[in-house]
Structure formats: C-alpha cells, structure tokens
C-alpha cells in the first residue's frame, strides 16, 4: 500500500516536470518557475512572492542556544525532481552497511528497509489492495489526505483559507523562506463530526522521505472531529540537503482534537560533529474553537542542529494545549527546542512535559513561553522540565519564560536535572545487565511520561531508537 501511494505521488509529480533541477540561487524568477511547474493557481504564486519579499528583509535568528556556520541561501537549489530509478541504489547490497545495521537494530521490516535506503523497487502487488482499502475507508469518511501540491489544485478554497492562518508567511525567517519555496508536504482535512478512522501514519512514514527540504503541512480538523497524525520515522534518514526548514500548521475548530506525533531522526552528523542536518522547523497549532484540543508529542534524536518549538494558540474558550517532548542529543548535536502556549480564551489549559537527555559533548536546551493574555480568565498551565545528563562533557539548559497579563491565571513550573549515576549503573551491572542496555533502560524510564502519549506501536519504536541513538555513550 505504501508503494501505491508513493507511486501515485511520484507519478503525479513526474508528468508535470520539464526541468530536472534548478540552478542554485533564489530570486523571484525561481519562485515563478517553481509555481508554474507545480501548476499552482495565481493566489499561491502571489502568496509565495509576498513571503519571499518579507524574507529578504529578515535576518537569521541568533537568539537560540546553538552555534552553526551561516547558511548560504544562494548555494541551495530550490527545486529538484525525484531521482530517476537508474540513479538510485539497485539493491540493498549497494547501501551503506552501517545504515543497514541500524535498520536491523530498530527491527525495520525488510521491505521497508529498501525504501528507506532509497533502493529502486517495484510495487509489491499484495500491498496494492491494502492501500486501496485504506483510501476507500478515508474517502468514505470524507477525509481528505493528499500531498499539499495536489490540495492546492484540487481544494484551493480550503488551502487559501487556512494556509498561513496559523503561521503567517512573515512569522519568522525560516517560515518566510518555507512559504516562498515550499516543495511539498501533506494536507489533511477532517470534516465536521468525523473521527478519522485511521491513524494517518502508516503510509506517510515512507512518503515523508520524498517531500524535500522545505516541507509544508496543513491539518484542519473541522468542528467535532478527531485526527491522530504521525510524522517521521524511526529509521535514520540520509539526506543530501543540509538545511531543512519545514512549517506545520494545525487548525482545530469547535470541539475538535488533533494529536500530532513526531519521531525525528535525521542524520545527526558523525561522532566528530561532521555533517548532519540543520532542522529549523516552525510548528504551530491554533485551537480556534471552543473545547478544542491540540496535542504535540515529539521524540527528537536526530539532526546536527535542531531549532523547533511546536506551539499552541489557545483561542477558543476551554481549549487545551499539550506538549510532550523527548529530545536526545549525543556527540556534538545541538538542540534548542520547547514550546509556546499562548492563552487567549477563558478556562484554557496547557500542559508541558519536556525531557531532555544529553550525552557526549552535546548541548540540549529547553526554551518555553507560557503567555496569558488579558482575556484568559482562569487559565492554567503546568510545566515540567527534566534534564538527564550522561557523562560530564554535555550540557543542559532551561529557558522558561512566563508572561501573565491576567491575575486569575495559575502557573506551575517544575524543573529537575539529574545524572545517570554510577550507583544506578553499578546496580544494573551487578544484576548482569550490559552497560549500554542499562543506560537505555534508565533513559527510557526517564522518558516514560512522554512515551505513554505516543501511539503504542510508535512508543516501542521510540524506545529502541533511544537505545540506538545512545550507542557509544558509555565508557
């Protein structure tokens, strides 16, 4: 079924393409050509150009607790057609053995390994029927789930109404860049009163690999609807693009619920800090309606530099925002991640549980903002930030900001920093447990509150992922 979706997707793509890859560089012409190839309606082009003009006036943000060389935006190519089959590895024998070893450890099924490693494979006939079943099931429920490039053409009124409604084109440097040049991504619309019959994950996991470095996702949950969306993949993604600047927007109307789970495992660079992805993401959800709820759960173990703050704007009265996060850094990785909870409506509540794990020489920062606007009567927030250090060369930082403009608001904040202690390690080893397994067990225990928010199957994978990501952190 994954094959089917992928094939359709590539198919739709390929027919529209005349040029393979753009010359590096960014200007209005590039954006016009990009929009033309994608056969976008006029409003889309105008929107992109407006974003580009805003972007030109902006600078790279420098406030985050991360350090990386400035990116040369004119050295990047802003459009590239999917790889041709003959350019891809022809079988798993052509793939980096190190990558295969990790797939094995993570227990990735064989047929998925080929796709993850970018091997040119033909569709498996068995899975076609399953894919059709899923598509039918979604269509029956009236759920729209398609590449955003397709949505721009097929559902322009929905896209025009909601795109940029949560993350405006000029929101920040990377969001502006993304708005100008976004390559592709997903579009989801759940109609009124519909509980999405599937977790939107199973086939997207593989698809995600092809959406390019400027991914754009828009999810709209209409009144009384529910959707659970899983993004990413536990398998390490090799990617030639160093910069990733994605934007995700969620809109929840009255009584609607969106649960968005992410596992991010982009290439983190080697053990000397060479290479790796810069992951500069803007993720934001708007609880537009009364009693709406948006829940972010993320497990971040990849990327050389991460800059990411999945946030909630709690506009509807009684709306609920949640943020559950595990961020693990190892070797020379740097992460500055957290959330913003903006309380606008009455009786709005938010919960933040952040677990940061630092190993090697890495740096891991939590940055969070909890803001109560004057209208947020009786709003409340609970924040818990825990840091776990492995070894003595890594760093953990917490930057919580609280702004309250309403006296009835209640904020609770708890923070702890602990180490994987020698005593804990000695106890585990004295019971016959391998040091690496012991660290993984202790770290998994530390993350338990977040893992239990993940869909079951993902939670098991996330546990294994931590184990793999922590390899070499002991001794």
């Amino acid at each position: 079924m994954k094959e089917l979706i992928k094939r359709e997707y590539e198919h739709g793509f390929v027919t529209e393409i005349e040029t393979d890859t753009f010359e590096p560089g960014l200007n209005e012409d590039v954006i016009r050509r990009l929009s033309e190839i994608k056969q976008e309606p006029e409003f889309m082009l105008e929107w992109r150009l407006k974003a580009y003009r805003r972007w030109l006036e902006m600078d790279d943000p420098t406030w985050a607790h991360v350090d990386y060389p400035r990116v040369d935006y004119n050295a990047i190519s802003y459009y590239s057609a999917p790889k041709k089959k003959e350019d891809m590895p022809q079988s798993l024998d052509d793939v980096d053995p190190e990558l295969l070893r990790t797939y094995e450890k993570l227990g990735i099924p064989l047929h998925e390994r080929e796709k993850l490693a970018g091997v040119a494979v033909d569709a498996v006939f068995d899975s076609v029927s399953i894919g059709t079943t899923f598509k039918e099931q979604l269509a029956e429920a009236g759920v729209i789930f398609c590449p955003i490039s397709e949505a721009v053409q097929k559902y322009p009124e929905l896209v025009e109404k909601y795109l940029g409604s949560v993350v405006p084109a000029g929101d920040n440097f990377f969001a502006a860049l993304n708005s100008a040049v976004f390559s592709d991504g997903s579009f989801v619309y759940i109609p009124k009163g519909v509980r999405c019959p599937l977790e939107l994950s199973t086939y997207f996991r593989i698809n995600a690999a092809n959406t390019g470095q400027f991914e754009r996702t828009l999810i709209v949950a209409d009144a009384g609807s529910y959707v659970s969306y899983l993004e990413g993949c536990t398998a390490p993604m090799r990617d030639e693009n160093q910069l990733h600047a994605a934007v995700v927007e969620l809109v929840a109307l009255d009584d609607a619920q969106i649960k968005y789970s992410t596992v991010q495992n982009w290439y983190p660079g080697d053990e000397h800090g060479k290479g790796g992805i810069y992951n500069f993401v803007t993720k934001r959800g708007a609880c537009q309606g009364r009693n709406s709820k948006i829940s972010w759960t993320q497990v971040e173990t990849g990327s050389a530099v991460t800059w990411k703050y999945p946030s909630c704007i709690l506009k509807g009265d009684n709306s609920v925002g949640e943020f559950y996060s595990v961020a693990l850094t190892h070797n020379y990785q740097q992460a500055d991640t957290g959330t913003k909870m903006i309380h606008l409506g009455k009786n709005t509540t938010s919960t933040i549980i952040s677990k940061g794990i630092s190993a090697g020489r890495s740096s891991n920062a939590y940055r969070g903002l909890v803001k109560f606007q004057p209208g947020a009567e009786n709003a409340r927030n609970f924040t818990q930030c825990d840091s776990l250090l492995i070894g003595d060369r890594c760093g953990a930082h917490t930057f919580p900001y609280i702004e309250s403009r309403n006296k009835s608001a209640i904020v609770e904040h708890e923070a702890t920093t602990s180490k994987v202690s020698d005593e804990q390690m000695f106890l585990c080893r004295q019971r016959g447990i391998d040091p690496e397994q012991a660290v993984s067990m202790i770290v998994n225990g530390f993350c338990k509150e977040v893992f239990k928010e993940l869909p079951m199957e993902f939670a098991v994978e996330a546990g294994k992922l931590l184990e793999v990501s922590l390899e070499g952190s002991v001794g």
Binding site: Q424, F426, R429, Q430, R431, G432, I433, M441, I442, G445
Partner: protein, 255 residues
C-alpha cells in the same frame, strides 16, 4: 568456591583492605562482622566489582576462575550477587522490567531462552510472596518510594530470582524492625543450598539468630583478625569488640 588471597584495595588512594584471606566452600554460610569502618562493605563492593575501588594486590577466584579480570556484569553472570545496603532508585523503570531484564541477561548467558513477560510475571508474583511483598509493587519504579524494609526485601527477592552461586548480603539487617527481619531471614534461609554459598556482612549479631552461619570472621582495620564458629558471634555480642583489642571509635577514626 570463593578464594580470597592477600586482597588489598583502596578508594581514592586510601587503602581500606589490607590483606584479606578467606576461603568459602559451596553450601557454607559465612558471616563477616566488625566495627564501623573496618572495611566490611568495601570487601563486598570489591567482590562485586564496583569500579570506585581499586584492587592493588592479591587475588580472588570463583571456582578457579580469576574474578578480578571480569567486568561487573560478567561477575554477576558467573553467579556473584550483591544485596545492597542502600539500594539506589531508578525512576520510571518498573521493578518488573528491571528484574526481567536481569533474569534474561543471566538466561542468555547460560544459553537458555529468554522469559516472556507473561512467564516472568508468574514467577515474579510467586517469589514476591516469599518475601511478603504485594505483587502490586512489581509495577512501581525500581526502589522508587520504597520504605527501608521494602528495599531490603526487594534485594532478597532478586537473589531468589537470580539464584546466584555466591550471595553477598551487605548489612541486610540494618534498618529492619523485628518482623521485617524475620521475613528477610526466611528469604535468606530459602536461599541456602548445597551448591550455593552465602557471605553475610553485618554489624550486629541479631541477624545471626535467624540465619545461623557456619563460620564467623571478625574484620578490623582491613584485615580478618579472628575466625571461629557460631559461638564467636555470641561472644562478640556479649563482650563487644573491645576484648579483641579494637575499639569501634578508634577503628572508625582510623578509616
């Protein structure tokens, strides 16, 4: 089974063990007594392989194999078990998960298949009753929020699950009321077997009323200064350590 010859060990450059000699045979129960600071706990930590201690001289063999060459986890898999005096907490890791991981590490080492969650649950429930622990505690974090008595019973339960060749009990009686002491002692007595040795480290004689040792050794200033049978412990209780020419305070101060 266990043979210790002229064992010297230090921590942070300070020598604590100054030439220990001890032979323990399968099926025997030995008690090591001594004042605070005599090196009792150090001996148990060194045998289990705590890297905070450095062995500077001597040798230790377990069934003829050089124990000091082995990593902590390898010693455990060869059958060395240490019941900790102050068991550490591991938040978020359930007791059940921890115990099953340990049991399966041993089973894998012996070439036996791993136990699945259901099989292990059944076994763990049975053993927890043996030390009078409510099976509900299996779901709690390792030692997390356990009372002193629960921690000690949990240690003995682990010994019963792991079935070691040599069980070292470090001050297992400390902090226990009389009822808990009885439960823990029953657990230890259940461990006694022909092919297993037990080494008890204790400050007080009272534990030995419940777990009757075959041999008693007095450790002072990093050396075994006197060995005897069960009666030696009773004599110590009656007369204190003074008649052996050591004073508790001095011994503690010297260390």
């Amino acid at each position: 089974m266990l043979s210790i010859k002229n064992l010297h060990a230090s921590v942070e450059g300070k020598e604590i063990l100054k030439g220990i000699n001890l032979e323990i045979k399968a099926g025997e129960v030995h008690a090591i007594m001594g004042p605070n600071g005599s090196g009792k706990s150090t001996l148990s930590q060194v045998l289990a392989g705590n890297e905070a201690f450095e062995v500077t001289e001597g040798e230790v063999t377990l069934n003829g194999e050089n124990l000091l060459d082995l990593e902590t986890e390898e010693r455990a898999r060869e059958g060395i078990f240490l019941a900790f005096q102050y068991p550490v907490e591991i938040p978020g890791v359930s007791n059940l998960q921890f115990l099953r991981t340990a049991v399966n590490a041993m089973r894998t080492h012996r070439g036996e298949p791993e136990m699945n969650a259901a099989e292990f649950m059944k076994l763990a429930k049975e053993v927890s009753k043996q030390v009078d622990l409510d099976p509900a505690f299996l779901k709690r974090g390792v030692n997390e929020g356990f009372s002193g008595g629960e921690k000690k019973r949990n240690e003995i339960m682990q010994a019963l699950l792991l079935q070691p060749k040599l069980a070292i009990l470090d001050e297992t009686d400390s902090g226990l009321d009389i009822d808990a002491l009885k439960v823990v002692s029953d657990g230890v007595n259940a461990l006694r077997a022909k092919d297993r040795a037990i080494l008890m480290v204790t400050h007080y004689q009272r534990l030995l009323n419940h777990i009757v040792p075959d041999y008693v050794h007095v450790l002072a200033g990093g050396r075994i200064i006197k060995s005897g049978g069960r009666e030696l412990a009773l004599e110590l209780e009656e007369r204190g350590y003074g008649w052996l020419g050591i004073k508790e305070d001095e011994a503690a101060a010297a260390n």
